[in-house]
């Protein structure tokens, strides 16, 4: 007896194999399964430039599809895809970094004194410098380790940890300055 399994129930590895065989439905299932989270990560990483999110989601998937033969299944597909997304965002940062704040810089002048602004955590994260925001998003929200973040960003795990330390201090200062609603 043959049992037909809906593509939504198939594991990523099966869907990837089918996609490599040219199955469009398998690809759509993969896309619909992983894009909501990927898009949210990319939005947060982009911060004030989140309008570019859909472009970067597309760019991430294109890079992923072109390199999917290199996906060996050691990491989860979502982790592999997120790494591609993070690097795509960093490429975008590099493109407009010339007229932006320098990377790894503190945010002292951004939030302090702007107490009239009713900030929430999302907006405070958005205000962080690119590298700090990236580490906060990947570590504190997405749960990646400093080792994983180091591999994703091409930096030492210690650098990731030090950046997170500065980011958390900045966050706390901004949260207190903005009178953020604490749960």
């Amino acid at each position: 007896m043959t049992v037909t399994v809906a593509s939504e129930e198939l594991p990523d590895s099966t869907l990837i194999r089918r996609f490599l065989d040219g199955d469009e439905r398998a690809f759509r299932t993969l896309y619909q399964r992983h894009t909501p989270r990927l898009r949210m990560v990319i939005c947060r990483l982009l911060g004030p430039r989140r309008d570019d999110a859909d472009d970067l989601v597309q760019e991430t998937w294109m890079r992923g599809c072109r390199g999917i033969h290199g996906f060996n299944g050691e990491a989860k597909f979502s982790t592999w895809l997120t790494t591609i997304g993070v690097r795509a965002v960093y490429s975008r940062f590099a493109r407009f970094s010339a007229d932006e704040e320098p990377l790894f810089e503190d945010v002292a002048e951004h939030g302090e004194g702007d107490q009239a602004l009713a900030m929430d955590l999302e907006r405070v994260i958005e205000m962080l410098p690119n590298h700090q925001r990236t580490v906060v998003v990947l570590h504190d929200i997405e749960g990646f380790t400093h080792q994983e973040i180091g591999r994703q960003l091409g930096i030492a795990p210690g650098t990731s940890k030090a950046t997170l330390s500065r980011a958390r201090c900045t966050l706390r200062r901004l949260l207190n300055a903005g009178g953020v609603r604490h749960a």
Binding site: R28, R37, C43, M62, L121, I141, A183
Partner: protein, 163 residues
């Protein structure tokens, strides 16, 4: 003393704020379709050939073949010599053509018969003469040849009597 590289811990309230953040965003179907179109243009997806569609196409091809065969057979039967001879609504031109076809058929049949036997075969000679005689008499009865057939038939009878 606090190590500046060691991140401070969030308070429970701060941690709760992080936990409350949404982890997923809405899917954008336009982005999905744009991506699929791009991938298709780059040849990632094979052409979708549905099994039912190919079966229907094969069945249609077989049906066309059978219908064509039947139509050809019927056309051939309708225009066969026997069928045309049985028709009563032929025009004069049709009848002239039919006569030519029948005559040609007779000549071809006679040639075929002659090729298949020897000229001294008495049966072959008799059959050939009988048919030719029958044709001549039919034409003579209708007086279609100005007397030539009568003379020819008479000559053939004379020739047959002396043999």
């Amino acid at each position: 003393m606090h190590d500046e590289n060691e991140p401070i811990e969030y308070t429970a309230a701060e941690r709760a704020l992080f936990d409350a953040l949404p982890r997923e965003s809405e899917l954008n179907t336009l982005t999905e379709q744009r991506l699929v179109n791009t991938l298709r243009a780059e040849g990632y997806f094979r052409a979708r050939v549905r099994r039912t569609a190919s079966l229907v196409a094969a069945a249609a091809a077989v049906a066309c073949l059978v219908a064509g065969g039947i139509a050809g057979y019927q056309y051939g039967m309708r225009n066969s010599l026997e069928n045309r001879l049985s028709q009563t609504n032929l025009s004069l031109n049709d009848r002239v053509l039919l006569l030519q076809r029948a005559g040609s058929a007779y000549v071809r049949a006679a040639n075929g018969y002659a090729d298949a036997t020897t000229r001294v075969d008495s049966t072959a000679v008799e059959v050939a003469q009988q048919i030719l005689m029958g044709a001549a008499q039919a034409v003579a009865r209708r007086s279609m040849d100005g007397g030539l057939t009568v003379r020819l038939a008479r000559a053939m009878q004379t020739s047959g009597a002396t043999q």
